[in-house]
């Protein structure tokens, strides 16, 4: 070992990126969870001018997709640079073609992968090895890490080995479990890295690059005569890889004392049962085996680090000759295979060794699957696998960690096994994303790390973007923490939100005798009486010491608002005993002074005050000796919910999804619509409240509500008979409908308190400028009565669609939203458009949705927002992938067109039998207006009745496609990351297809879902991740591009600026018989705005000319008119009056004022230039626009 060892508590992504960045010259990047942080760190370091170990600042280049990143990587490598990329899952799949090329050309490179599931029956962002297993044939060497420390070390080993071996490497570690786990590790210094990767190897790589100074041809087309032989030339290189990797590991050992092997054995030297694994699961197996071995069991663990080229000799050598049974664990699934890949490799290697006489006995080898999509893999499960091997007839193929009651694959295990050393403190904290719990815990880790303790932190988040819950798992101890699984026996449980205490998980994770800290408004003397019986029983059963503090009150009083983190952190230090309480308070205050200095002195003082006040408010509860409560927690869903929702969805909502057996789940990824209606989250303290006296019934609030929590109906006055007390209504403000009543109903438990409705309301109370017809009010008193009001409201008749004037915002409010209560961010700028789509066309819409925010709030379990109307009709929604959404949607159109054609044929064939008049009217129905559509529905109902009286194959066929005779509305929905970047080529092609599809681009100008990375829609001068220094290229004008085809209806809209124009554009786009494109300004949390001001920012974007509202209608061109309509007035605000209010622009003015000034001036110029172009277009004669060249029919 050389020099002092630096220690840090970092996560696997940072541990890896820190090495990859320092050992490379070019990083070709693209965001994808859970690997994005590696790319983000590289980008930030590069922007700060941080140098690699060779003395240069790596160039970090974001590409349009992972396919693009792989291409740029290939080029960089062929150009002789040291280059890398970071990816996962679908991203890695997109790299496959280039991976074959890079390997085929024997090019040294390392790709770092935070291994993740592949989208199959559903997408999952979580960890397993499906992605890396999908590339095992590419020729890349595969090197797996099982911990944060290993990820740091193997990143260096991979880089050293690739340059020696000339075989490219894929270094992988488990997504989330390792990529996101904070752990205290020893850092490799620059000198360590230089020692591992000598400059001579770098120069050799450079010498093989493409250069006109020594020209050659690489990438030929080869024919049957030589391709095969040429493919075999690489064998010697692969043969050398194991030796080279082992040598690099040995060198690492020399410098650090950390010993790794290609295949490592742990356990009894004469073991009889052995488990083989890779990744973090291997660490769990090692720890479990050590525990069992210490108790005398003849068991062992074999960790495979180098997976390709498979180290057959090393595996045979590592496995003790005494072994009689081997279980090979694969964190992947290969349906239809004889077994999963690692199992097959091990089985083959052992069989061959036995055959060849290198191993006397052939052990029994079984193969099991575990841990898909970050499913927990615990010591109990590892022990269960070993126990299974000891049975007389172990399952040859099995799963562990689930209950498979369909195929019977799962094995049993004793869930109570606890192998962790007593010296480790284990604590879990339950909080909300918004309350700062995770941040405080990260801070705690830093404090304890500085005290010389080893720490581990792992954070579990739910899938909602608003009101999300977090669980923090923290371990501290005098030894490195090697426990890559959640804490099940916590000595400390912090419940930071009283409402979470009823979740079974909270107390289930408590060890006997644990301490529970509860944040509650109730004083210590009263709190026991507020608990449910189940909670009381658990507290008594586990002999839990209960402490309480009113952290919300303390936080409020010291000026910290909802941020209860410091208060609760102080209480944790005071009662957990990890440090003595005086030292803890002192360290915490030091940390506060340091951490919050960047937020200013007021925040520092408030947090310091919070520490003192917290300790004053902390009290232990005297717990009685028996449960006293008769109350139980409310059921997660109402009793009248559908059976599936009660049986499956409710369990998932309660955090019990892990307990669902295989049989409970749909087998082809098909889930019921509209389940968010059963999940009443009540996430906001304040909710909208309607003032019927003031209201002018304009519908603006309902129009902009991102969560469909504001509904309106008009109905005859007598319907009010039997209305519950307090049910609000007002006479309908409309001529010709006397005696008609109007109600605006707030769904209080679904309201997120975002305030967009208040901002959109155009009226104020006389003398009270801040009081609108919709205001935010305390939720609590509104919720109980609100439930009754909603029940009554839903029993009122729904206004008939043909009687509603769709052409106005006022009218549109009466259309039932078929997209409701999503988990999108409070105040989301996308969902109002999505909801509008569902209101206008949802009952006949099929939706293709690109991966991104809209697929997450639109399709993330347990509950989904796409709903059905009273007739059982509603949008049919699907997410294929990120990159292919336009093509996927086109496919839906092609299928619909085909079925329509079949239906028309069938009708013609059966014309006489069905009635010529009816058939003719069905075939010639125009179906553009709502009343025409309603008439067609009626005709189809008659048709269906008549078909019921007929039979025969033609009749059956017609019946199967009859619904296509109602004009189907095909929508392709996605964000700008899809439309401008990864799906750009496909979108362009689909727009050029001439087919009747409607594309809605929810343009947030950034990759919102993965955390705010730059896209080609990001505006000039804005700061984003991957554009830390400000984007220096103008946003692509997607609208103009689409207009160039002449056959595409195009609109650019901003609901907050002109809702009527938005509505008009949606209706025109849908009615247009051809491709339509709507680009919708969607304010976003990633803009750095108060979300409540989102609509005002939309207004400013338009008023400054940044976002001109336009429509391009080819129908006008065909009629001899100018098809280009400029719907917004000339710019009347300086661009800075829009940009100055958004952090994405303002932050750059603080970090790099010169650049901000320069880019700001250029952006203003660009606005003026574009406006001039648009103005000119708006005055052109029709013939100066391209004609729609499609033929009729």
């Amino acid at each position: 070992m050389t020099g002092p060892v630096a220690r840090a508590t970092i996560d696997g992504n940072e541990a890896t990126a820190s090495v990859a960045y320092r050992l490379n010259e070019i990083c070709c990047i693209y965001p994808i969870t859970p690997s994005s942080a590696m790319a983000e760190l590289a980008d930030e370091w590069s922007a700060k001018g941080m140098r690699n170990v060779f003395g240069s600042v790596p160039a970090v280049v974001e590409m349009q997709s992972e396919g693009g990143a792989a291409g740029a990587l290939h080029g960089s490598l062929q150009g002789g640079a040291l280059a890398t990329t970071f990816t996962a899952s679908q991203g890695l799949l997109l790299m496959i073609p280039n991976m074959y090329k890079i390997a085929g050309e024997l090019t040294p490179a390392v790709i770092h992968v935070a291994a993740r599931s592949i989208a199959a029956q559903g997408l999952s962002i979580f960890g397993d090895h499906q992605d890396v297993m999908a590339v095992r044939e590419t020729g890349f060497a595969l090197l797996g890490s099982s911990s944060v420390q290993e990820a740091h070390d193997m990143a260096a080993v991979a880089q050293a080995a690739t340059l020696s071996a000339r075989v490219p490497f894929l270094h992988f570690f488990d997504g989330f479990r390792t990529s996101h786990e904070l752990n205290t590790i020893e850092l490799l210094s620059d000198d360590d890295l230089r020692a591992l990767v000598p400059q001579t190897l770098v120069r050799s790589h450079r010498a093989r690059s493409l250069s006109p100074e020594h020209p050659f041809v690489r990438g030929t087309a080869q024919n049957p005569d030589v391709y095969f032989q040429a493919r075999e030339t690489v064998n010697p290189y692969y043969a050398r890889v194991p030796e080279i990797v082992e040598a690099a590991m040995a060198k690492l050992f020399d410098r650090t004392g950390r010993r790794y092997h290609l295949v490592s054995y742990t356990g009894h030297p004469e073991a009889e049962r052995v488990v083989v694994a890779m990744g973090s699961g291997a660490e769990t197996v090692r720890a479990t085996v050590s525990h069992l071995y210490a108790r005398g069991e003849r068991v062992g663990a074999l960790t495979v680090r180098l997976y390709r080229p498979f180290p057959a000799a090393e595996l045979v050598a590592a496995l003790p000759p005494s072994v009689k049974a081997v279980a090979v664990l694969d964190r992947t699934k290969e349906p239809g295979s004889f077994g999963e890949p690692l199992f097959l490799d091990v089985l083959g290697v052992l069989a061959e060794a036995h055959n060849a006489g290198r191993r006397a006995d052939m052990p029994m080898v079984t193969g099991g699957r575990y841990g898909l999509s970050s499913k927990e893999f615990t010591p109990a499960m590892a022990a269960g696998v070993l126990a299974e091997l000891a049975r007389p007839a172990p399952k040859r193929r099995f799963t562990v960690g689930i209950t498979d009651d369909v195929s019977g694959t799962s094995i049993a295990y004793d869930d109570g096994l606890d192998i962790e050393p007593g010296s480790t403190t284990r604590a879990v904290f339950f909080g909300l994303g918004a309350d700062g719990t995770v941040g405080a815990n990260k801070n705690t880790i830093k404090i304890l790390g500085a005290e010389g303790l080893f720490a581990q932190g792992y954070f579990v988040y739910d899938s909602k973007k608003s009101g999300s819950q977090t669980v923090s798992h923290l371990r501290f101890g005098p030894e490195p923490v090697k426990a890559p699984y959640l804490i099940s026996q916590a000595s400390f449980v912090g419940c930071h939100q009283a409402g979470l205490l009823d979740r079974p998980e909270v107390l289930d994770r408590a060890a006997p005798g644990a301490t529970l800290l509860l944040n509650t408004p109730h004083p210590a003397g009263e709190v026991w009486g507020t608990l449910t019986r189940t909670v009381q029983e658990k507290i008594l059963g586990k002999d839990i010491a209960l402490y309480v503090v009113d952290a919300n009150r303390v936080a409020r009083e010291v000026g910290l608002g909802q941020r209860v983190n410091t208060v609760l952190q102080a209480c944790f230090f005071s009662i957990s005993g990890v440090l003595d309480s005086t030292t803890a308070v002192e360290r915490m205050k030091q940390a506060i002074t340091k951490t919050y200095a960047r937020r200013g002195p007021k925040v520092v003082e408030a947090n310091l005050a919070a520490v003192d006040r917290a300790l004053e408010g902390l009290a232990r509860v005297a717990v009685p000796d028996r449960p006293t409560s008769q109350r139980e927690a409310d059921a997660p869903v109402p009793a009248d919910a559908p059976e599936f929702v009660r049986r499956v969805t409710a369990a998932m909502m309660a955090g019990l999804g892990d307990t669902l057996p295989v049989s409970a789940l749909p087998d082809d990824g098909t889930w019921p619509s509209g389940t968010t209606a059963y999940e009443k989250r009540g996430i906001s303290d304040t909710v909208a409240q309607w003032d019927p006296e003031l209201c002018i019934q304009c519908g603006n609030c309902s129009f902009v509500c991102p969560h469909a929590a504001i509904r309106s109906k008009y109905y005859p006055g007598p319907e009010l008979d039997g209305a519950p007390a307090g049910f609000a209504s007002a006479p309908l403000r409309a001529r010709g409908l006397p005696g008609t009543v109007y109600t605006l109903q707030i769904y209080a438990e679904d309201c997120t308190g975002c305030g967009l409705c208040v901002e959109a309301c155009p009226v104020s109370a006389p003398g009270q400028p801040d009081r609108k017809a919709v205001n935010l009010a305390w939720a609590e008193p509104l919720i109980g009565p609100g439930r009754q009001h909603i029940g009554f409201f839903e029993s009122l008749p729904v206004p008939e669609r043909p009687r509603v004037d769709f052409g106005t915002v006022r009218g549109a409010q009466f259309l039932t939203p078929l997209f409701e209560f999503s988990g999108a961010c409070a105040g989301c700028g996308e969902t109002p458009y999505v909801k509008l789509l569902s209101q206008l066309f949802g009952d006949r819409a099929v939706i293709a949705n690109a991966t991104g925010c809209s697929s997450i709030y639109g399709g993330n379990l347990p509950t989904t927002p796409w709903a059905k109307n009273a007739d059982g009709r509603g949008p049919a929604w699907s997410n294929s992938l990120f990159e292919d959404n336009a093509e996927f949607g086109l496919g839906l159109r092609l299928a619909a067109d085909h079925h329509l054609s079949l239906a028309r044929q069938g009708l013609s064939t059966l014309r006489d039998a069905l009635g010529a008049d009816l058939v003719d009217s069905v075939l010639s129905a125009p179906q553009r207006s709502e009343s025409e559509l309603a008439s067609q529905r009626q005709r189809l109902a008659v048709l269906s009745d008549r078909l019921a009286g007929l039979d025969g194959p033609v009749v059956d066929d017609l019946r199967s496609v009859l619904d296509h005779l109602l004009r189907r509305s095909v929508w392709i929905v996605g964000g700008d990351g899809w439309a401008y970047d990864i799906g750009s080529g496909g979108l362009d092609h689909v727009l050029a297809s001439g087919r009747d599809v409607n594309v809605l681009v929810l343009d947030t100008e950034v990759y919102s879902n993965t955390g705010g990375q730059m896209s080609k829609a990001t505006p000039l001068g804005a700061m984003a991740k991957f554009a830390t220094a400000g984007k220096a290229v103008e946003k692509k004008d997607l609208a103009l591009q689409a207009m160039a085809y002449g056959s595409v209806y195009v609109a650019r809209v901003a609901m907050g600026a002109d809702p009527e124009q938005t509505l008009r554009a949606f209706r025109e786009a849908e009615a247009y018989d051809g491709p339509s494109l709507i680009i919708a300004y969607s304010h976003c949390i990633a803009h750095g705005i108060e979300m409540r001001t989102g609509l005002d920012q939309q207004h400013r974007a338009v008023a400054s000319g940044y976002w001109p509202l336009v429509r391009y209608d080819p129908v006008l061109r065909a009629a001899g008119d100018n098809p280009f309509l400029l719907d917004s007035p000339r710019p009347r605000l300086a661009l800075s009056e829009y940009t100055g209010r958004e952090l994405r622009f303002a932050a750059l003015a603080r970090t790099n004022p010169e650049e901000a000034e320069r880019l700001g001036a250029l952006a203003q110029e660009a606005v003026e230039l574009r406006w001039a172009t648009y103005e000119e277009m708006a005055t052109r004669p029709a013939e100066r626009f391209p004609a729609d060249a499609r033929k009729e029919g």
């Binding site: 930030e44 941040g439 899938s463 973007k465 960047r598 007021k602 925040v603 700061m1023 603080r1150 901000a1156």
Partner: protein, 334 residues
């Protein structure tokens, strides 16, 4: 014609200084002010409270929604904190000082004792020719004694003087109980110049919206009388430089300021109204006046109408005369 003067120890080509305005918020604006003829440019104030609240707000926005969703644990790259140096201001100062040919004076309004000296040092490093202390603070509570306010201001001046080698000016409030005494104490404490006076932008009330709205910022010519009077009173007894910063709208106001004894006269509203090039017009007017009276340089007439030593009785006489004249003003016809 020699228009040169010396202000806070800095030799200036003429006695017209551009005081803080929206024009001095950008490099281009500062350049235009200098090109227009101003002998020095005072930048807008670095308001520490604004900086802190802006940083705090930005961090809150950057952290909104973070640590909530597994895919988007944050939405922004790291944003500079409240403890970061005020790069925007210092960058403007640095670029202005490096590119315009006249001295650029930085203006500072701190919020805590430590920060005054820290920012002053940073301004010095960024190339400021001098520092003007903007001692504006929100109206103190009714319990704060006048002496406490004064002591605080003197303490700040002391801190800044100790921190930098640059000349330091104090932009004074006209609302000290004894402006003259305070001026003398500031000068004794090391102020290289006194700027008379700070104008406080008191808010207005919008009777339709029932809300407070920002007050109008531009000055009018009569507002120059108060600082001019005080300059005339202070000139004979103070060696520190004196500047008049309010109500300069014509070359005649410039002349009057100099006659009262100011070393420089500052202009804001007139340059906002007529453009930064208007300095030229004011200076031409000054030259023409000097030429008509046969003055070859400014020294020859500066302070000509400053008060003599017997200040109290002379002033009393003038006050009574002025009051009598004002009361004789005819009301309008109605």
């Amino acid at each position: 014609m020699d228009l040169s003067t010396t202000y806070m120890g800095i030799k200036l080509r003429n006695p017209l200084v551009a005081s803080p305005s929206p024009l001095s918020h950008t490099l281009d604006g500062v350049r235009r002010l200098a090109d227009g003829g101003a002998a020095a440019v005072v930048l807008h104030s670095l308001f520490e409270e604004d900086l802190l609240s802006q940083a705090e707000h930005q961090i809150a926005l950057a952290e909104a929604g973070s640590e909530s969703s597994p895919e988007s644990l944050s939405f922004f790259p790291e944003i500079p904190g409240a403890d970061a140096e005020p790069r925007r201001y210092l960058s403007l100062l640095e670029r202005s000082a490096a590119t315009v040919g006249v001295p650029v004076v930085a203006s500072l309004n701190g919020a805590s004792p430590g920060s005054w000296s820290r920012y002053a040092r940073q301004m010095q490093d960024a190339g400021a020719a001098g520092i003007e202390l903007n001692l504006y603070a929100s109206p103190a509570g009714p319990a704060t004694a006048a002496r406490t306010v004064e002591e605080t201001h003197l303490e700040i001046l002391g801190l800044v003087k100790a921190a930098v080698a640059l000349p330091v000016a104090v932009k004074m409030s006209p609302y000290y109980s004894s402006v003259g005494e305070m001026a003398a104490r500031l000068a004794d404490a090391g102020a290289d110049a006194l700027v008379l006076f700070n104008r406080f932008m008191h808010p207005d009330i919008d009777t339709d919206a029932l809300s407070l709205v920002p007050g109008i910022g531009l000055s009018s010519p009569p507002e120059a009388r108060l600082p001019r009077t005080w300059v005339a009173l202070l000139r004979p007894s103070l060696s520190a430089s004196l500047a008049i910063s309010t109500g300069t709208h014509s070359s005649s106001d410039l002349v009057k300021g100099l006659l009262a004894g100011a070393d420089v006269v500052m202009a804001t509203s007139v340059l906002l109204n007529h453009g930064p090039g208007h300095s030229e017009v004011l200076l031409e007017g000054l030259s023409a006046w000097m030429e008509a009276r046969g003055y070859a340089n400014v020294k020859q007439f500066r302070g000509l109408l400053a008060s003599g030593r017997n200040v109290p009785s002379r002033e009393r006489v003038r006050y009574v005369e002025a009051l009598r004249a004002a009361n004789a003003v005819q009301a309008g016809t109605w």
